[in-house]
Amino acid sequence: MHDSRDKNDVPENTDPKGGYEIRDVHMSVIVIGGVALALVCVFAFVLAAAIIPVLQNVSPDPTVAKDGPVINYGRLLPPEPRLQPDPPTTLRGFEEAEQTFLDTYGWINQSEGVVRLPIDRAMDIVAERGVPVWPSAE
C-alpha cells in the first residue's frame, strides 16, 4: 500500500514514483482565498447598510413606498366602478356573497326588525299568506 506521504512535502523536481503529479496547492492559499472572499461579501453588506443613512440625510426623507401585496385597507381609493386588480377572484367572491344573500336568513335592519328570508322560504310564505300590500290574488 502507499505510504501515507504528505502531499506537498515531495521535493520540487524529483520524478514522483506514481507517474502522476500529486502535489496540490498549499492549504494556506485556499484559506487566504476563502477569507478574502468572505471579506468582500461582508464589505458589500456593510457598505450597503452604511450608504443608506448617509444618503438619507442628504435628501429629505419622503416615505419609502414599499411594494407590497394588493391591500386596499386604509387607502384613498377612487370611487366605484374601480379598476379591479384581480377580476376573476373578485367575480367569484361577488357571486358567492350574492348567493349567500339569497339563500340565508339575516338582518336587513335590526332596529326596525326587518329580516331577510331565503328566497325559496319567502316564496312559500307568499304562496300561503299572499303579500299584504298587493291586492288579494283574484
Partner: protein, 547 residues
C-alpha cells in the same frame, strides 16, 4: 536517417481519426478527442440554426411594422434563438470541443477521468437537442429564453414543458462535463505539472467546471418546478393562489448569471494561450490571471440580483447586488490589463488566431464596460429590458466568446486535424466578422438609450434607421461566419500537412504528433519548466508554415 522519418511520416500513421473508421466506432467512442469532434459538429449545426433565427429576427426588424412574420412567430423566433444559442451552442462550445480535446493533452494524461461519462454527456446533449427540435416542429415556445412566470406557467401556449425538459436534460450534459474536468485536473496531471505550471486554459476550465457543477442543478430544479406548475397549476409561482412569481426569477438568475461566466471563462483561457504564443512572450501576471478566473467564478454566484433591479426588489437588496456586481467586474479588468501587458516587448505575429484575439480584446472590453453600466442602479432603471442589454450581451457573448472560440478553433485546428487552413481567408473572415459585428450591435446601444424595448417586433418610426443599419451589419457578419464553414472543412482535403507544432507553441499538446494517437502520449511526459516559456527576443522562424 531523415528520409525514413519523412517516409514514415508520409504514410498515414494510425491516429485517433483513422484508427477506426466505422460510424459505430464514432458513436460509441470514449476517446476524448473523438467526442470533441462530435461536439464540434453538433454545436456547428445548432449555431447555424440559431443564426438562421437571428437572421430572420434581423430581417423582420428592418421595418417598424410586422412584415416578415406576425408577432407570435417573432416571439418564438427570439425565444428559440436565445435557447439554442445559449444552451446548445455557447455553453458547450469551448469546454465540450476544445476542452474535451485538449485537457488530457495539456495535462499529459491519456484521457479524461471518466471516458464513458464523457460519452454519456454527449448523448444527454443530443437528447436535449432532440427535445429542442421537437419543440421547434411543434410550433416552438414563446416565453423568451428566461421562461418568466406567470406567463410561462399559465399564459403561454408554446411547448413550455417540452422546452423545459430539453433544458433539464441538456443541463446534465454540462454538469457531467464539469465534473469530469474537475476530477481530471485534480487527479491526472503529469509528473511535475504542479498547479502553478498548469496552462491558464486549464485554470479557466477548472473555474468554469466549478460553476457548471454548482449552478446548473439549480436551473434543473427551476425547470422541474416550472413543469409541475404548468401541468398541475398548484400555485408555486401563481400569485392568485399564494405563489410568488419573483421566486422563479431568483432561482433562474441564480443559475443564469453564473452561466454567463461559464460562457466567457473558457474563452479567456483560449485568449491566454493564443496571446502568449503569438507574442512569443511569457504571460504577464500568471498568478493574477489564474486567481481572477476563480474570483469570477465565485463572485459570479453572488450577483444574480442585478437582473431584477426594477422588479419589486427592496432598495437594500438592489444596493448590495449593485456593489457585488461592481466587484465581479474587477477580475475581468485585471485580465484585460494583463493580456495587454503581455504584448509589451513581445514578437507579435498577425496570424488568424491572433486577429480573432485582437477582436476579442476590443469587443469584450466594450461588452464588459456596458455591463458595468447595467450594474449601476441608476443606469439600469433606464436600460433594463431595452436593446442596450441586447447589445451588451451580444458584445460579450458574440464579440467576446465567439471570437475566442474561433481563435481557439483556428489555433488548435492543425493539432486536431493535422491540416493547415487557408490563412488569408481566415484573416479575411476575422476582419469581416469584426466589422459586421460592430455594424450589427453598436446601433443597438443607441436604440437602447432611445428606449426601444427588447422583444419588440413592431417599433416606433424613429428607431427604424438604426435597425436598418443593424440588419445590414448582420448580413456582413453572417458572411464572415460562413467563411470558416468553407475553408476549414476544405483544409481536410487540400490543406498542407500541419506537423506537430506549426505555431512553435509551448504546451504538452504540441509535443505529440498532429493529429495525436488515440492514447496521446507513448510515455507519460515529465514537466519541469514554467508555462509559456517563450523567448521574446527570438524570431520564430517557420511560424505557421507547417511541414
Amino acid at each position: 536517417m531523415s528520409t525514413q522519418i519523412a517516409e514514415a511520416d508520409a504514410l498515414p500513421r494510425p491516429n485517433y481519426l483513422n484508427v477506426k473508421r466505422s460510424i459505430l466506432s464514432w458513436l460509441l467512442t470514449t476517446d476524448h478527442k473523438r467526442i470533441g469532434i462530435l461536439y464540434l459538429i453538433s454545436i456547428t449545426v445548432f449555431f447555424l440554426a440559431g443564426g438562421l433565427f437571428a437572421a430572420l429576427i434581423r430581417i423582420e426588424l428592418l421595418t417598424p411594422q410586422a412584415d416578415l412574420v406576425e408577432s407570435d412567430i417573432y416571439n418564438r423566433l427570439f425565444t428559440l434563438h436565445g435557447i439554442i444559442m445559449i444552451f446548445f451552442f455557447l455553453v458547450p462550445s469551448i469546454p465540450a470541443v476544445l476542452g474535451n480535446f485538449l485537457l488530457p493533452l495539456m495535462l499529459g494524461a491519456k484521457d479524461l477521468a471518466f471516458p464513458r461519462l464523457n460519452l454519456l454527456s454527449w448523448y444527454l446533449y443530443w437528447i436535449g437537442g432532440v427535445f429542442a427540435v421537437v419543440v421547434l416542429l411543434q410550433g416552438g415556445v414563446d416565453t423568451g429564453w428566461t421562461f418568466y412566470t406567470p406567463f410561462s406557467s399559465f399564459a403561454s401556449n408554446g411547448n413550455v414543458v417540452l422546452a423545459a425538459a430539453g433544458g433539464f436534460v441538456a443541463g446534465f450534459s454540462s454538469i457531467l462535463t464539469g465534473l469530469n474536468f474537475i476530477v481530471t485536473i485534480h487527479k491526472m496531471r503529469a509528473p511535475g505539472l504542479t498547479w502553478f505550471r498548469l496552462p491558464l486554459f486549464v485554470w479557466a476550465h477548472y473555474a468554469t467546471s466549478l460553476i457548471q457543477v454548482l449552478a446548473t442543478p439549480v436551473l434543473g430544479i427551476s425547470l422541474v418546478l416550472i413543469m409541475v406548475e404548468r401541468v398541475w397549476r398548484v400555485g408555486i409561482f401563481d400569485p392568485t393562489i399564494g405563489g410568488d412569481p419573483v421566486l422563479f426569477q431568483h432561482l433562474f438568475w441564480f443559475y443564469s448569471h453564473p452561466a454567463v461566466y461559464i460562457m466567457i471563462l473558457p474563452g479567456m483561457g483560449v485568449v491566454s494561450e493564443v496571446i502568449t504564443c503569438f507574442s512569443r512572450k511569457r504571460i504577464f501576471g500568471y498568478h493574477m490571471i489564474a486567481f481572477s478566473s476563480l474570483a469570477i467564478a465565485i463572485l459570479g454566484f453572488l450577483v444574480w440580483g442585478h437582473h431584477m433591479f426594477v422588479s419589486t426588489q427592496a432598495m437594500y437588496t438592489g444596493i448590495v447586488f449593485s456593489i457585488l456586481t461592481m466587484l465581479v467586474a474587477i477580475p475581468s479588468a485585471i485580465k484585460v490589463f494583463n493580456w495587454t501587458a503581455t504584448l509589451y516587448k513581445g514578437q507579435i505575429y498577425f496570424e488568424a488566431p491572433m486577429l480573432f484575439v485582437f477582436g476579442f480584446l476590443g469587443l469584450f472590453t466594450i461588452g464588459g464596460l456596458t455591463g458595468l453600466f447595467l450594474g449601476l442602479l441608476a443606469a439600469d432603471i433606464h436600460f433594463h429590458d431595452t436593446h442596450f442589454v441586447v447589445a451588451h450581451f451580444h458584445y460579450v457573448m458574440v464579440g467576446g466568446m465567439v471570437m475566442a472560440y474561433l481563435a481557439g478553433l483556428h489555433f488548435w485546428w492543425p493539432k486536431m486535424t493535422g491540416r493547415m487552413y487557408n490563412r488569408q481567408l481566415a484573416a479575411l473572415a476575422a476582419i469581416l466578422i469584426f466589422v459586421g459585428f460592430n455594424m450589427t450591435f453598436f446601433p443597438q446601444f443607441i436604440l437602447g438609450a432611445l428606449g426601444m424595448p427588447r422583444r419588440y417586433h413592431v417599433y416606433n418610426e424613429e428607431f427604424q434607421l438604426l435597425n436598418v443599419m443593424s440588419t445590414a451589419g448582420a448580413g456582413v457578419m453572417g458572411i464572415g461566419y460562413l467563411l470558416p464553414l468553407i475553408y476549414m472543412p476544405l483544409s481536410l482535403f487540400v490543406g498542407k500537412r500541419a506537423g506537430a507544432n506549426p505555431w512553435l507553441a509551448k504546451g504538452l499538446e504540441w509535443t505529440v504528433p498532429s493529429p495525436p494517437t488515440t492514447y496521446n502520449f507513448d510515455h507519460t511526459p515529465v514537466v519541469t519548466e514554467e508555462p509559456y516559456a517563450y523567448d521574446n527576443r527570438l524570431h520564430a522562424a517557420g511560424m505557421g508554415q507547417g511541414e
